[in-house]
Amino acid sequence: MSTAPPADPPRRPRRRRRDWTGLVFVTPFLVVFTVGIVAPLVYASGLSLFRDQLIGGRSFVGLGNYADALTDARFLEGLSRVALFLGVQVPIMIGLALLAALVLDSGRVRAMRFMRIGIFMPYAVPSVVAALMWGFMYGDRFGLVAQLNEATGLALPSPLSSTWVLAAIGNVVTWEFVGYNMLILYAALRAVPEELYEAAAIDGAGEARVALSIKIPALRPALWVATLFSIIGSFQLFNEPNVLQSLAPAAISTYYTPNMYAYQLAFNANQVTYSAAVAVLLGAITVVVAYVAQRLTERGNRR
């Protein structure tokens, strides 16, 4: 590779010759892509078509595992839980991120650099540590909620009770990602050319008009990216409930989210092929929901 031909005199001014150099450069990626993504998906999809029986060993059952999953109360319970999570947590998080981005962009606050970094900081914290920290603060051993109740005589419910634990998880996820989403949105606002604002000012547009006609349209693609990643994150929810489980074993079941269920099937129930079906199905559902959301956004944009 290092001795690629210096031949080919500069006859053609265009550099984009059609040759194999580019393919050689992209080959390392294709190799790891195949080993790390394509092969596991192909293998797991294949495995999901079989079932292990006590007698007779592994036998082909076609889409049987998928049919089972779609009527499996535990899988469906987890699925509806993450759908609820998606419907509540994601709008709150994106709303907060949007608000923060608009405020930063308005230039009407001091110490912006500190605020930006401070709000973004949780993104650098592993979700395991985030869940551990919040879990301790939630908890009754040396948690803040218990101390607050003790100090003020309030009777705040435990965030780790089965009523509140989903909200408690939502808070951890919001904490982790609000700053990241804020930065995505803020960067989109910063990319608006100054001339646009100047032109709007000359035309006598007020602040509301500027927000409506310039800022919101400029934000739309970034909002979509932020939402897309949040949809994926919701459906794939695993780390936070898994970590909090040891603190709230009564509130968080082993099939609390679909991913936890798949994990439980593979490792504790020893239903490996069914676990593969659940994992593949969940991945497919996630991508379909993300796709549908994208189409809806596009239709909204065309209007």
Binding site: A4, F29, V32, L47, M137, P221, A279
Partner: protein, 319 residues
């Protein structure tokens, strides 16, 4: 799964343009010097709202830092938001790193190994590939773009169990490579590098290098890679954070505690302590271990952020 990649292929192009480090590319200096900003008056209401938000994001980190300085006993008896009577941070650190024959240091070493090997490898692979996709024509290029960029929406967590099943079949599940190999794959990194290379590496420069007789490999390292440096830093940082924070995959893949990264080790220790499986209630080890686990990330974040900004400024001057 082929349909998955096909359906998600038309991804909005502005993604990279709006990702943190790129969005500001055209702004010469850190945000606070924005031109239209100086004219605005500070709003007390907005200031208060932002202060509240920073409080929300920093409070848990403060809580962790404060409580990592307490002895096990004082964790339960002192105010959670203030220091105890004894400042035991150093003792806690010593206890943490010597606990169970220094298992924490083993976990730390594993985390560093996995993240550095994974992130450096992934970033080089993405830089090469992105440069190729942006600057070369080659047979099959359109197919490569469609499949790889379509794979961006396949979540890493959805791949964890399939990857484990395959690696278990191949007999490499409980090894270090089982964590490093998946960390080398970053479709989003490739996407960012492609967009970045298209913007920041001028064709004329590559043409000049070619006329000077430089081969494709030399040109990449001597010319393109330097121009790509800010993008490389970005992709490196994101991959580093991703692997450092990875939990699901190592949790599934590894059964030997000597191979655990910090995330898996810390959580296992915590659940042993919480459920009473571990007879010593070493909450101080869990807390101090958590604190030590995030310090390098936060420091490298701040450090690399400066690096970005200088890169961003240089990029804007060139335009």
């Amino acid at each position: 799964m082929r349909s998955m990649s096909a359906t998600t292929e038309p991804r909005p192009a502005p993604a990279a343009g709006t990702a943190p480090p790129h969005g500001g590319r055209r702004t010469p200096a850190p945000a606070r010097t924005g031109r239209r900003r100086s004219r605005r008056r500070t709003s007390v209401l907005l200031q208060a709202a932002m202060a509240l938000m920073v409080l929300y994001t920093l409070l848990p980190l403060y809580w962790l830092a404060v409580n990592a300085t307490k002895t096990n006993g004082e964790l339960f008896t002192s105010n959670g938001l203030w220091f105890g009577s004894e400042f035991a941070l150093w003792d806690n650190i010593v206890t943490t790193v010597t606990y169970q024959d220094g298992i924490y240091l083993t976990w730390l070493f594993n985390t560093v190994l996995y993240s550095v090997a994974g992130a450096v490898g992934a970033t080089l692979i993405c830089a090469l590939g992105g440069y190729a996709l942006a600057k070369f024509d080659f047979p099959g290029k359109r197919a490569v773009r469609a499949v790889v960029f379509g794979a961006i929406t396949i979540p890493a967590t959805a791949l964890a169990i399939p990857t484990f099943l395959l690696f278990a079949e191949l007999g490499i599940a409980d090894t270090r490579m089982a964590i490093i190999i998946p960390a080398l794959v970053s479709p989003f990194g490739l996407y960012l590098m492609t967009v970045y290379a298209a913007d920041s590496v001028p064709d004329s420069l590559l043409e000049a290098a070619r006329i000077d007789g430089a081969g494709a490999w030399t040109t990449f390292w001597r010319v393109a890679f330097r121009l790509l440096a800010p993008g490389v830093a970005t992709v490196l940082l994101f991959n580093l954070v991703h692997t450092w924070n990875n939990y699901f995959l190592p949790l599934i893949m590894l059964s030997d505690p000597a191979l655990y990264p910090l995330t898996v080790g810390l959580n296992q220790l915590n659940s042993q302590v919480t459920t009473g499986a571990n007879l010593e209630p070493v909450y101080n080890v869990v807390l101090t271990g958590s604190l030590l686990a995030i310090v390098p990330l936060i420091v490298s974040f701040l450090f690399l952020q400066r690096y970005w900004q200088s890169g961003l400024a240089a990029g804007s001057v060139k335009q």
